[in-house]
Symmetry: D2
Subunit: 504 residues, 4 copies
């Protein structure tokens, strides 16, 4: 199995760089393997049957390198020094993205005597300033490390396909002998990967049914609020801890009753399932269901009884009278009818578009880049001072989607749109996702590409009437970066300049 295949690799994640040729032949498979590795040796089947949204899991690995490849304190140091730096060595040609700021991108905090304090300076987060704070006992929280770390970006972009929802992350670095955050619960399913050092975690049951699978994060609790822990463990480098949203948790580096070595701790929290519940879907479906019912069913448009204000209302809720009974029966009947008007599939598409909007763009392998517009096609030939390398999709060119989960096909009124995440920012919601309007007639061809994924298909096999339409759709999608070709397209003429069409 793919999982076994990877098992020997030690550390498993970081070694995968070298497999770039084979990498990503199937984004769903890839996602599955990544998750299997994360929770190994627990199987996904067992995990989703017994633990998911039910109870915490800790996996002890006795292998401090098991989680290697995700992130390190050294990477944090380099990010602080090099991202947005005003000088750097060539290698990559362009200019780095803008620098990190305190508060916006990174926090330095203390938690002492039950009180959390933020110590963020104003402005740019220079490495020496950050390390000064760290040495003075501040914990560091790096928000959205996927914006700066290529590996975090890559892993999260893979995991999001597995979970069908946005996968986020934060990184926490704690100096020896301190505690970073007050007890609280979050609104996400949390996977804690301990990367360096050790940390003691204590988990507590949700305080009541309403806090189970909590929809919104809590404020900070005091020790008095939270009862006894159901879990009190030392997480060591290589270990994993999972707990459902609503689970109260606190982490300490040094606490009465536990002696940890004089060492820093670094972990990354991977989060999924925020606002991704049945209730969230119903919030999209129900108002539209009612709108449709009102449009289509005259019973929903009939006036309320003339005198209903005189027996309905909270002030009348204790009264027993036939009018109330009849009124409530009518409400019941109408709500039953509502079911048949519920646009569930359209609601799911709204969730799907939200997912595309939230999601990270894919990280491509060199092979993928070479087989797509990302790395192939016309380029400036500096020697000959002209454009060269032009390529063309042909009816027999074999193509597939670059990722199965990178687009959503949606019917809106009479038009059809492809929402895709190829132009998303690595920073959450910085840009709208790209929307590509296509003719309703080509929808089946896009669906065909979705259903045949991960296999390559000839452009000629697309279920469209006309070969021009087939190639036209393929070119449109290729130029948006959505299609991979099976082989790198061969330039029309490799040894000379492309002829300019206007010259013909």
């Amino acid at each position: 199995t793919p999982f076994t295949r990877r098992r020997g690799s030690s550390p498993p994640l970081s070694s995968r760089e070298n497999q770039s040729a084979a990498y990503m032949f199937d984004s769903q498979q890839e996602a599955k393997h990544l998750f299997e590795m994360m929770i190994h040796p627990v199987t996904p089947q067992k995990f989703f049957n017994e633990l998911w949204e039910k109870k915490p899991l800790m996996v002890k690995r006795r292998n401090p390198n098991y989680n290697n490849g995700w992130f390190s304190t050294q990477e944090l140091d380099r990010i602080l020094r090099e991202v947005g730096a005003f000088i750097f060595e060539a290698g990559f040609y362009g200019i780095s993205q803008e620098h990190l700021n305190f508060t916006e991108n990174i926090d330095v905090v203390t938690y002492e005597n039950g009180k959390r304090e933020t110590h963020n300076p104003v402005g740019r987060a220079y490495a020496p300033v950050l390390w000064d704070h760290f040495q003075n006992g501040c914990s560091v929280r790096l928000l959205n490390p996927q914006s700066y770390s290529r590996n975090v970006w890559k892993y999260l972009s893979v995991l999001q396909e597995y979970f069908g929802c946005f996968a986020g992350a934060n990184v926490y670095l704690t100096p020896p002998g301190t505690q970073g955050f007050a007890p609280h619960y979050d609104d996400i399913e949390a996977f804690i990967l301990q990367l360096e050092g050790k940390k003691r975690w204590r988990l507590y049951d949700p305080r009541n049914d309403a806090e189970k699978l909590a929809r919104f994060s809590s404020g900070n609790f005091s020790e008095d609020d939270i009862g006894n822990p159901i879990f009190d463990v030392i997480l060591e480098a290589g270990d994993l801890l999972y707990f459902p949203r609503g689970t109260i948790h606190q982490a300490c580096h040094f606490a009465s009753g536990c002696t940890l070595e004089d060492d820093h701790s670094l972990h990354i929290t991977v989060s999924v399932s925020q606002l991704n519940s049945w209730g969230d879907l119903l919030q999209k479906v129900l108002p539209r269901a009612l709108d449709i019912a009102i449009d289509e069913d005259v019973e929903f448009r009939q006036s309320l009884p003339r005198d209903y204000l005189r027996y309905m209302g909270v002030a009348f809720s204790d009264q027993v009278c036939p009018e109330r009974h009849q009124f409530m029966r009518r409400i019941e009947q109408l709500m039953m009818k509502l079911l048949s008007y519920a646009p569930v599939d359209a609601g799911v598409d709204q969730m799907g578009v939200k997912f595309i909007t939230d999601s990270l763009p894919p990280v491509l392998t060199r092979t993928e880049s070479a087989c797509s517009i990302h790395g192939n096609g016309e380029r400036w030939d500096d020697e000959r001072q002209c454009i060269a390398g032009g390529v063309e999709l042909q009816p027999d060119t074999e193509v597939k989607l670059i990722r199965q989960g990178c687009l959503r096909l949606v019917s809106e009124n009479d038009s059809v749109s492809i929402y895709h995440n190829l132009e998303n920012s690595r920073t959450y919601h910085q840009r709208e996702c790209r929307k590509l309007d296509v003719a309703a007639e080509v929808a089946p061809a896009v669906e065909y590409l979705l259903h045949t994924y991960p296999d390559f298909v000839s452009i000629d096999d697309l279920p469209l009437e006309d070969v021009t339409d087939k190639v036209g759709l393929a070119v449109t999608m290729y130029e948006q970066g959505l299609l991979l070709t099976k082989e790198p397209l061969v330039p029309l003429s490799d040894s000379e300049c492309d002829e300019s069409p206007v010259e013909m």
Copy 2:
């Protein structure tokens, strides 16, 4: 019966001024009588069983004065001259409200050759300018005549209690030989009272089921759109025409096939039931039902299946697979559960507050004024140059609500509020309705006043523990204008100045 009592009076409505002492002993009864008179000789029972929201009704009266008292062309002329005039004779001491403006308050339009045109000048509607347009063939529409005509205000404020929803009106004056408006349907139940002259009306069935009891008014239709009339009648002064929302209608003053005398036409359209349907109530109830279910029921908070985006959605709606089936079953179960969380009474209270917000303030009789803060209490005694006339509510003072429908008692979170329309503007939605927050403990006393209406009750009978609380609530409501006393309160000392408390 009250109805019989009024029957002999001719014209029935206008004569009621003189009965002010007895008038309004019971706003519900009063409302019923007014409506009975409007549709006489049809009975309300027959009307609501057979016609309401089903089919049109015309009542021919052969009595041109039957609708007198509502409005007249003469009243329109006086309104234009006197409202907002810069000079006027004493009588009423204060200053008139602001003048009428074209477009905002009054329209002049033509409808010729199937095309409607608006001819509104800019700015103030001076009477001569309006009559000029009228003589040139323009129809006149006066919007919200209740803002200027005391009788329209009074009748609408009574009708709104009967229908449990806002009652509005427009007045239409058409010169001889013209048609004022294109065929269309409206979003309200329409009662047309012909006041002067004659007019030919043609009604057409809704064009399809979706337009029955239409929720929103249509645009203008051409003759080709609407088929054959189901009703083609001449309405004469004193007659009534009713038709449900969605009924296409057009009125003409002169048309091929019908010869009307060379006379103007004046009618008032009374409208009810706008956005007052079961669907409107559900729009308030359902989102809150879902919020409550999500809060209270963990099943609504569970994550959607990891892979649902791969088999749900419009692109997959033709597929048959067990996952889809199971997904839809789950939606069904959750929607069934929703019923038990639906806050129907709270939703009705929202509708009730909306009604208070929309509604007109009451018109009071002189007796009512004398028995309330509106006409009784401290006044400036100009002769003695001091305050006189102070009155006090006592435990044995008998009181009742000034109208049953002028307030709504609502529980919001932990507090209780009385929304009332006593300070509403006569202009629709110009001000928020007044909200009076009271202690939760006094709610039963307010309910008691609602349930005992129209009888007077002693303040001492209010279901509160303490006599101070009883009088306190009564004073609060009295000072908001909400309570009537059975007899005008007698000033503490009629022949001298009130002593000032600060002097004691």
Copy 3:
């Protein structure tokens, strides 16, 4: 002199009602007379030479009725009872304006032990509730009495023409033995007219030059802030007190050292000259002057010296160097040049439009009403059920403006606009003033009407080429209510209905 003419009348203001035929033949004269009466026996010449914006003035009249006609406590009582009342006797046909609210329209306050407190209840100001507070020692402030009192409206609308700026007012009613407001200064020239009872006033010099003719009102001072009074007087009914803006003042009803009878006090404060200074005009002129200079003069468009940031700026202000000197010289030269670009007349027109926007609409006499669209022209003849009374302006009709100060003619870009206050609200700034765009060619005719005021002129004398244009302009202005005819226009045919043009 006009002043003498009125002198015999006692009380002078209130008797003027009966002179309505002659009244307002010249709004400037009328304004002058009113002001002469206000400050009598001081003459305007003396007042503006010696006192205006310089020092306070008190006029003792020994005639308690001298200020009669402005306002009274009785009028306040009637306003509270009748404005917005839900019932009233006929007389005036229409409906009264909306009721008064606490805070928005009327305040009840106390000032005790140096601390001001506002006791405004929420919502409608019912008379008994207000008098209750008054009896408990609250002072009453009625804001903008011109919105409710016809006389205050009339006097202010006349005074505004005299001062060329908005004239406002507030009314203060104080119970015996209290003080209503803390010491402070205002941003307006204040004329205090004592209407009933007595009040002790103490005035204090501005504390420094910057507070002289203060542009903005002060906060409340304590006794320690303000030094010794320069004025300590008892104002009695009929008296006048004037003081310039910036003068600190306090009024008390009863204070140590002074014993006032046990009586209430009522006064009205008339205010003028708010934001109406040379500086206000320059604020309109200067930015446009600079815009014009930059457009027209290349010297203003030349770049600043390359290195000016290295010797100019506050950090360099102590340095002496030739570059600084030269830079400052250049600034000086440019500012001198600016003068020649200053659009002073256009700036004055902006001030003029602001005045029209701020100003009250005129109060008309019955004669004025009868000679204008306000009272003349087509009306509904209820007996004959038709329109009658149509009138027409003829070339030989003699006309004049209804007031000289009710309009402002302004050139804006290539168009010419007449701004007028005829449709202004009595409530400050409730509506934009009306703007009437006319052809640039007719501007001289409008100017002719301004310059010939208060004389009547034949329409035929308007300096326009074409008689059609002359009558056209006259009709346009007449229909906006701007023109008076010398005699009431005689209806075309008094004994029959107007023929409708469409019938011809």
Copy 4:
């Protein structure tokens, strides 16, 4: 001279990379040298005396490499491929900035038959898509190349210090035989550096005085609008063309009468002096001058004459009367007085802050980086898994500002602020510039650093009382990246971990 020193280098700009140790010892000198090189062999003195803002200049170089180092078509190709790419080789550790979008960052346009058309696709600018358009005859405009090209960034950040205002750039790439843009003029002083190929330029005088040194760019002209060219030249690689704002220009690649080789053309336009004129300064100074005058001088607060609206205004501008004369005289006097209130230095500081806001952050040499917080200080020692490298500023540490023009010291009310551009984005106005509030007492020390630049000074020499304050200010500025040390600070202890202060 420095100029001579660099003259031998061929190509001069590109070779400077190697001089990084000496580079930037004085940003003013550096800026001067760069500009000298740009216009060589014309001297700055001659340029600013005879040409600047007066007439165009062309320098023929006969050296196609003279402008090398600024930009190339090859660099454009790499930017399109590598900026925002989803895959890239290590080298630089972080992640590249976001990709380029059409319209936002890059335009593709044609200009044919006098008509300009934009052909921008939607979304991301993939290189093959851009080159396709180029081959089809589109010109390419890259906006703000400084955001992507390190050299453009570096040169512009140097030039901005020379000109004391924002220096911007655009890059234009034109395919053979086409014209990219219609004739027009711009609002900036333009320096055209021809980088590759040739282009024919035609310049035309401003059409009138108002367009000289135009404040705003024009729309597109047709040939008929612009008369005969004053300049008709072929610009070849290595050449320079300068012209003042307001100069109408058009460039063509191939035109009747001129035959250019079949080659593309690439040039960069460097722009300065946008909205940086005396008029712009006065727009900041005058309103505040008037505010101050109104505050301080009672004459500005005196009321306008009561009757001024009756003789001032555009309608009265032709009248001759003493009141007008006197009014205008008064305006003159007040404007003369205004001069003495004009806060010229404060206005310059506002311009200075605007410059800091607009400006690019500096590009640092490796030496500069090593001698500042940008490259020195605490770092993560991955081997020892601890923080190492801590440094400390001492009283005898010698420091200087990192650039003279990177900060502006401003007094605002009672506080003193340092505005600096160290955290500015390379994208124009993407972020506010950083503002650092300091105590008023330390202002002289900051001024001292400004005046002693480019010399190093001991922290101990800062003109402050207390050595703690001296070091405190130095640390604050050092941690904002504003200070360079003469030598790289030596870590406290290089061979071991820094001791954590909290442990002590």
